[in-house]
């Protein structure tokens, strides 16, 4: 048994998601990602259960593991009780832990996710926050969002919200004590360490690419947020 497989066995999501795959392909048939990307969850599970160390390392460095949308449709349908989506989550965690995520275009996107959703959770207490979702980053939001961003306090007042104010209510300002507790939880449980790992590994790649890496929406952030430089789809 190889080292990577041993590490996967330490993740409860892996041990719960990986029973015994019979290669029936039901997961691939129902998978939204398999329709969009050059992706087959069946092949992932088959490769993982081979326990081939070299192949597993290749998988952790590949584009493939980042295609899944974690909808978990596969979990419902697998006749053997496997959950390819859970296996993917475990693979993605390990890819980050071992620093392999920067080997792929889709893996490198972790820096953008860390600097948006990751940091917003600690800054605001929410995974999303309206002023952070501007029209440049989110043109699909349409003119209604452009209007809403200009009048957030008045709109929230009208619909019974409590935007950016203390107390209870919709999109209230989360109390500082709660944010402090959130940060302490991240420090104690490895959340902060993962953020730091993503930054450190990404910095190395940015340097190799000759890109500015200062934090926030720097050149490297914009690159990984927008770049599609290889074909991820069925040819």
């Amino acid at each position: 048994m190889g080292k990577v497989y041993d590490l996967l066995l330490k993740d409860v999501r892996f041990t719960e998601g990986m029973n015994s795959c019979i290669n029936c392909g039901t997961c691939t048939a129902i998978c939204p990602a398999a329709e969009f990307y050059n992706y087959q969850p069946r092949k992932i599970v088959d490769l993982v259960q081979s326990r081939d160390e070299e192949a597993l390392i290749g998988l952790l460095k590949s584009e493939t593991i980042w295609y899944c949308g974690e909808c978990m449709s596969c979990k419902t349908r697998c006749p053997r009780g496997n959950a390819p989506g859970l296996i993917i989550i475990a693979l993605r965690s390990l890819s980050q832990e071992l620093g392999y995520f920067t080997e792929s275009e889709k893996g490198r996107q972790m820096l953008a996710i860390k600097r948006t959703i990751g940091e917003w959770i600690l800054k605001y207490g929410y995974c999303l926050y309206p002023p952070e979702m501007d029209m440049e980053g989110h043109p699909e939001q349409g003119p209604i969002w452009e209007w809403e961003l200009q009048h957030l306090p008045e709109i929230f007042e009208k619909v019974g919200g409590n935007y950016n104010k203390p107390g209870a209510g919709t999109l209230r300002r989360i109390p500082q004590e709660a944010l402090d507790e959130l940060r302490a939880i991240f420090d104690v449980t490895g959340g902060t360490a993962r953020f730091e790992k993503i930054e450190a590994e990404s910095a190395k790649v940015a340097e190799k690419m000759g890109m500015d890496f200062q934090g926030g929406e720097d050149q490297y952030f914009k690159h990984v947020f927008n770049a599609i430089q290889i074909n991820h789809h069925h040819s």
């Binding site: 003119p143 209510g169 919709t170 490895g190």
Partner: protein
């Protein structure tokens, strides 16, 4: 015998939903994009049904979107969720009601993990104590906010002023329902009707007079995919999934889409706009889109609440065609006004998607 057999089979598809005294955990996505819905949920429960709901300013995101976008480790998410449960415990509640399907799925997953791997529960208790000094109990009852509306759908229908019926023809409106993947695909026994026959939205539609429309891609994902939407380079995934569903439902001419998860209505609403801009294609009648509603909005409309206080002006796809079909009177002049009638201007009009302004 046959009736007993049926009861036995359907027993697997029922779930226990607490009757009162709920600790309400708000949703990041719903608060951002459908802020009126959460206010409506509280109004319905407290003022219409006389229930006790605790709305706690101290709870935070469960980190669910971060967890499923792979940036937040499992132990961190477990401990943040444990903190939510600690707040519930300290407030003297046992019934936990999240407003988000991602959260609901995650709470279900974490509770199951603690059950099957007790060492993870012990570790989480240690982490929470170390980070916050708090202790927690696992909720006696976990129900999504839509489960609670489903439980009281008859009472809401009886108090209702409007039915999901075309007031001109007397025909039931044709409603497409979208359950949200994490409601029951991971843990079928946690959802009303399970993963095969999810009934939480169907029960509302039928009780309030509408007709549920079945269509080939009914159970396909809306396409959120977490990182697949969060990162701009991946958004084609998200758009493609919604597009597949729109194309599949189009021949059935639905009058509205009813949603369970806060993310799904956002995507169905915004991607209809994006498709109209990209391809000039619209899916509703006369150049409009298909109106997309949250279950709180639909319940609120049945009860006669003002659509602009429900926040339905914040949809990119206009809801007026739906309101007009059921004969719901509304004031178009107030749509984009503030609470005190102040002029907030108006949003620009999309190039292809027809909107009421």
């Amino acid at each position: 015998m046959i009736a007993e057999g049926k009861k036995r089979i359907w027993k697997d598809y029922q779930k226990e939903i607490a009757d009162d005294r709920y600790y309400y955990a708000r949703s990041c996505v719903r608060q951002n994009f459908f802020p009126g819905s959460e206010a409506a949920f509280l109004k319905i429960l407290r003022e219409e049904l006389g229930k006790n709901v605790f709305d706690d300013p101290a709870h935070t995101s469960c980190t669910g979107i971060g967890y499923h976008a792979d940036v937040v480790p499992l132990e961190t998410t477990m401990t943040v969720i444990a903190r939510q449960f600690a707040l519930m415990t300290e407030a003297g509640y046992q019934n936990f009601v999240p407003s988000c399907i991602t959260s609901f799925g995650l709470y279900s997953e974490i509770i199951e993990t603690w059950h099957h791997f007790p060492e993870t529960l012990e570790k989480t208790r240690k982490y929470l104590k170390q980070a916050t000094g708090r202790e927690f109990e696992i909720p006696d009852n976990l129900a999504h906010a839509s489960d609670v509306i489903y439980k009281f759908r008859k009472e809401i229908g009886e108090k209702g002023k409007y039915r999901l019926v075309n007031h001109n023809t007397g025909e039931p409106l044709k409603i497409v329902e979208h359950i949200g993947c994490h409601y029951s695909k991971m843990f079928p026994h946690k959802g009303v009707g399970g993963a095969e026959y999810p009934y939480v939205l169907v029960g509302m539609i039928e009780e309030w007079g509408g007709e549920v429309v079945d269509y080939p891609e009914r159970r396909h994902c809306c396409g959120f995919g977490f990182r697949q939407y969060a990162v701009k380079a991946n958004r084609g995934y998200s758009l493609s999934c919604s597009h597949k569903k729109f194309e599949s439902m189009e021949p059935y001419h639905p009058d509205a889409i009813l949603t369970n998860c806060p993310g799904c209505p956002y995507f169905f609403d915004r991607w209809q706009y994006a498709i109209s801009e990209l391809e000039g294609k619209t899916y509703g009648e006369n150049g409009f889109g298909i109106p997309v509603l949250t279950y709180e909005e639909m319940a609120g409309i049945v009860l006669g609440y003002d659509p602009w206080e429900l926040g339905m002006q914040l949809h990119q796809v206009s809801v007026e065609p739906f309101l007009e079909k059921i004969g719901f009177p509304y004031d178009p002049e107030q749509k984009y006004k503030g609470k005190y009638g102040q002029d907030l201007g108006k949003p620009k009009v999309p190039e292809f998607l027809k909107v009421c302004c």
